[in-house]
């Protein structure tokens, strides 16, 4: 048990949540941060899907790592990710149709997510299945956290809602408050990601 949760393994899990956050520090995966964060719900769904897929493709690549020919390793990684995403999307379509409708566009985006390939290449190729699994979960959640922050800000100020429910009271609108149309635009998500990175670096100055 102690081996399963050694300091090293813990670091693989917690590092990406904060000091080594894939979006805020490595600036990976911001393409999808832009596409799915105008509301909170798709942001959370996307974050969770990436978490699951990163974890499992990390495990598979980590199990295969000693057999993979060096020259075609990126292709092997890509095939594993694409096959996994396709199977998951087929399973979703068959058994949880509602969720698959929700995810429609994002499933394709998961395959192209830079975080996935980045973690496979940088971590799973050198480490065992268990640390790789933790690393995948950690990176996925680190990514999800940023998406949720951006989605929260954009939905709150852009639509005055959270999860589709009105949270800004009517008297505010009566008093002249308006939803900020800028927040709805894709460009705003990059500005918010920029602000998050700024805050994150100011907080973690020593690293």
């Amino acid at each position: 048990m102690s081996k399963l949760f050694s300091d090293e393994n813990k670091a693989a899990f917690t590092g990406p949540l904060n000091v080594n956050n894939p979006v805020a520090v490595q600036v990976l995966g911001i393409c999808s941060a832009l596409a799915v964060t105008s509301q909170l719900k798709p942001a959370i769904v996307m974050g969770l899907s990436v978490t699951v897929i990163t974890a499992f493709s990390n495990v598979i690549i980590s199990l295969l790592r000693k057999t993979i020919p060096n020259r075609i390793r990126i292709i092997v990684q890509l095939v594993v990710v694409a096959a996994l995403v396709t199977i998951v999307s087929q399973l979703l379509k068959a058994y949880v149709y509602d969720v698959s409708v929700q995810l429609s566009v994002y499933v394709g985006l998961i395959i192209t997510n830079c975080i996935l390939m980045g973690r496979l290449e940088a971590f799973a190729m050198q480490n065992g299945p268990w640390p790789s699994f933790l690393d995948g979960i950690g990176n996925g959640l680190g990514y999800a956290a940023i998406l949720v922050i951006v989605g929260f800000v954009r939905e709150l100020f852009g639509f005055g809602t959270l999860f589709g429910y009105n949270v800004i009271p009517q008297f505010m609108y009566d008093a002249g408050y308006q939803n900020n149309g800028m927040m709805v635009m894709p460009a705003m998500s990059l500005i918010i990601v920029g602000l998050v990175i700024w805050a994150h670096r100011a907080y973690n100055k020593e690293s």
Binding site: I68, I87, Y97
Partner: protein
């Protein structure tokens, strides 16, 4: 013995074996799940039709309610004929071929309605929807719209209830007899024919407007026969009980031959 994982032979074999395994795996998964998936799609389509009729498809048993409340018909040569073949899940190509499906059913409020499938194009991909019109075929009773790949949080909001509910009670035809129902910019709807679009998704909103216009125009022959063109309604009923939805369209004299039940 240690394998030389950098050799050409090894690399080729590895790639070949990997591709074959993955191909079989994907083919197996796809064919094993195909039936369940198609059933899901059909069920979802039925749910969309019920949604246009004002039911909440998330809380009802879609297959059962559909069976009870909705009938699939083809509009041919000026009349509705019951359609008994395999349930369709896409209507774009059928409408182009002139195979106009009309669903007859009752709304959640108990009103008789016709549901017409419509298709169109949004910003990134296809749009489709179902529009329920009242028995007199001049007012919208409910709508359902969805999309292939509109932007989440922007164009995708046409799939939300607040947008679809705006159409309820809107008249379809303007004074010139053409489809006047349309979607404007967000917050700009003024006349009784106009519906607010989605903020930040003008192109998708325009796509919905075009879809509603073209979609209803494709059914003009069906819709054009408003209440006034139903002279033999009473006759049909008296002569032996036509199916309720066929009452309005059966031509004089042919009622008993073509539409009488039993």
């Amino acid at each position: 013995m240690k394998l030389n994982t950098n050799g050409n032979v090894y690399t080729f074999c590895y790639a070949a074996v990997m591709v074959i395994i993955v191909a079989f795996l994907l083919a197996f998964v796809a064919s094993a799940l195909k039936e369940t998936q198609e059933a899901n799609v059909a069920n979802d389509t039925k749910g969309q039709i019920l949604s246009a009729l004002g039911y909440d498809k998330a809380t009802i048993d879609v297959a059962k309610v559909y069976e009870e409340k909705v009938k699939d018909n083809l509009f041919e040569a000026g009349e509705l004929k019951p359609y008994g073949e395999k349930f369709n899940t896409t209507y774009g190509s059928l409408i182009k071929e002139g195979k106009l499906h009309v669903f007859t059913g009752t709304t959640a409020q108990g009103e008789q309605a016709y549901v017409l499938p419509v298709v169109g194009r949004g910003l990134w991909g296809g749009l489709w929807g179902y529009i329920a019109v009242n028995e007199a075929k001049d007012k919208v009773l409910g709508t359902y719209f969805y999309h292939e790949s509109e932007t989440a949080g922007l164009g995708a909001r046409i799939g939300e209830k607040w947008f679809q509910d705006q159409f309820i009670g809107k008249p379809i035809f303007g004074e010139d007899g053409n489809v006047a129902l349309t979607v404007t910019k967000a917050g700009a709807a003024q006349s009784e024919f106009e519906v607010d679009g989605v903020t930040g998704a003008t192109l998708t909103s325009n796509g919905v407007a075009a879809m509603v216009k073209d979609g209803l125009a494709a059914y003009k022959e069906f819709l054009g026969g408003a209440a006034s063109e139903c002279p033999n309604k009473g006759k049909c009923q008296k002569e032996g009980g036509c199916q309720a939805e066929a009452e309005c369209t059966c031509p004089v004299g042919e009622c008993e031959e073509t539409n009488v039940e039993q």
